[in-house]
Symmetry: C2
Subunit: 320 residues, 2 copies
Amino acid sequence: MNPFTNDPGERISQWGENHLLGQILEWLGGVVPPAPEGPGEDCARIPGGIGRAITTDPVWYRRHFDDDLSPEAVGRKLVVRNLSDLAAAGARPEAGLLSLFAPDQTSRRWLQRCVESIGQTAAEYQLKIVGGDLSQTPSDLGLNLTVWGALDHPSPGRGKAEPGDTLWVSGQLGGSLLGPHWQFLPRLAEGDWLAASGSVTAMMDLSDGLAADLPRLLGQRGASLDLHLLPLRPEADIAAQRSGQPPWLHGWSDGEDYELLWALHHSIPPEQFLAAWTSRFKVPATCIGHVVERADRDALLQFVGDRIPPEGGGFQHFRP
Amino acid sequence: MNPFTNDPGERISQWGENHLLGQILEWLGGVVPPAPEGPGEDCARIPGGIGRAITTDPVWYRRHFDDDLSPEAVGRKLVVRNLSDLAAAGARPEAGLLSLFAPDQTSRRWLQRCVESIGQTAAEYQLKIVGGDLSQTPSDLGLNLTVWGALDHPSPGRGKAEPGDTLWVSGQLGGSLLGPHWQFLPRLAEGDWLAASGSVTAMMDLSDGLAADLPRLLGQRGASLDLHLLPLRPEADIAAQRSGQPPWLHGWSDGEDYELLWALHHSIPPEQFLAAWTSRFKVPATCIGHVVERADRDALLQFVGDRIPPEGGGFQHFRP
């Protein structure tokens, strides 16, 4: 049977990524355990005396990078986007498996520069590469990394935030494709500290943009947000000049921020938390709103003030 | 920089898979630990109280399967070829991560049938799917599985066979593409028992054919083989009728056998081993030769009798 179809109504691109993922989990059936053991977090768990978090992410030519990006940037991006998932689980990077999916016409020089950068970036983070795979594709070029790390503390995970918990982001958001999407520093020390605090009720990394990721963090809850509070990168301004949209909208929906998003238990005063954070980290932490009870599906997000984004936003593969 | 090149001399396809792998390991540099912790085995190791073996393998449309194969067969193949690597490490399957790499035109019906088969095959082997990833490719369709399993015993691994050790294969070889390449049963119970015996000095699974895989098992050693002893599948005869080559040559170099290949310590009499094996397993085990000292690079393989294969053989990605 041909796995491709000419009938537009039969294509997987008719579904958004979220719907497709739901379908795949349903098709897999009983072999998929419920979260937190199963899918739905930035990382899966490997149980044991020392628990581990494990995650897998690729980079694809013409999807995650193009000719404008140097091979060194591609290699760095592959490593740090995986480490960002470990950071969101509060895990300490240990080792990984690297897979190359490449067609015949792949350039040796390009590959050498990319793989050397993977090695150098992995070394920066004490990540060992202990195996992997090599396979030939008909035409697409991709690299996949699977990484795991030790969990010194339980991961906050998603969906357990309570009404009144405050919502925070690390760093700054928006305009990531102008450079930060491969230059960013995975928030490993910050994620470890947040997981160790015992005061964080939910945590994830921002890969698809706040607009798409915040609902994933909230699960059955809603949020009240003031988008005047969004910490914006200088690149969000540049992106705004090009797009004609306001910078805060880029911060809301651009994606590839690779910053942490977390909910802080309502018993912790924000100023107390911020003082502890600031004494430890140079990167800023910003409170952007709080978790609320949710009356119905439409009340997922409430916006304080005059910055109200359009529905949707954020990145989805296979956007219908 | 464009990762593709029009200059044939600059393409990675100028190198065979073995050379390309060596280059990649060199480029990665210091983050690659030596075997057995690092690459060079069927599985990598996750250390800990309960040690684990981990491996990753894809299936690509137009490389590992085509329109002749049903989506159910593709899903089954993805699972069992990964489990075969766990079997070679003597590991008990625990869980895995499933990644889908798919272009827009992928058929929902095809994907559903394939993924349902992945779920059913995983269930047969008590393998849980605990996470993964979904990404859109420009044109190629692939699925990747990363699986890990518990090691109740140290894995024999490769390269530690000694002169006089006997060489064995499970099952039958040859003609795999006529059906066995997705219908085979991963030799998990056999691999676990062989690893537990303490008498196996090296073990791997046959994925690229004896011709390509045996040198990998031997490392610095050589082997003396009698290809009259090769246990051949009925499919090797059918393949021979089509190719005009003798069936034993198909058993030697076809690949995708997914049987176990191991070296048994020279202190164990073959007939004693065979009696123990036969009392336990229905699948045959066959002694095909023994390990020898190697005088020089050219003396890797010696053939007893009149069945002498041509140089090379076996499957390599990126064959130059």
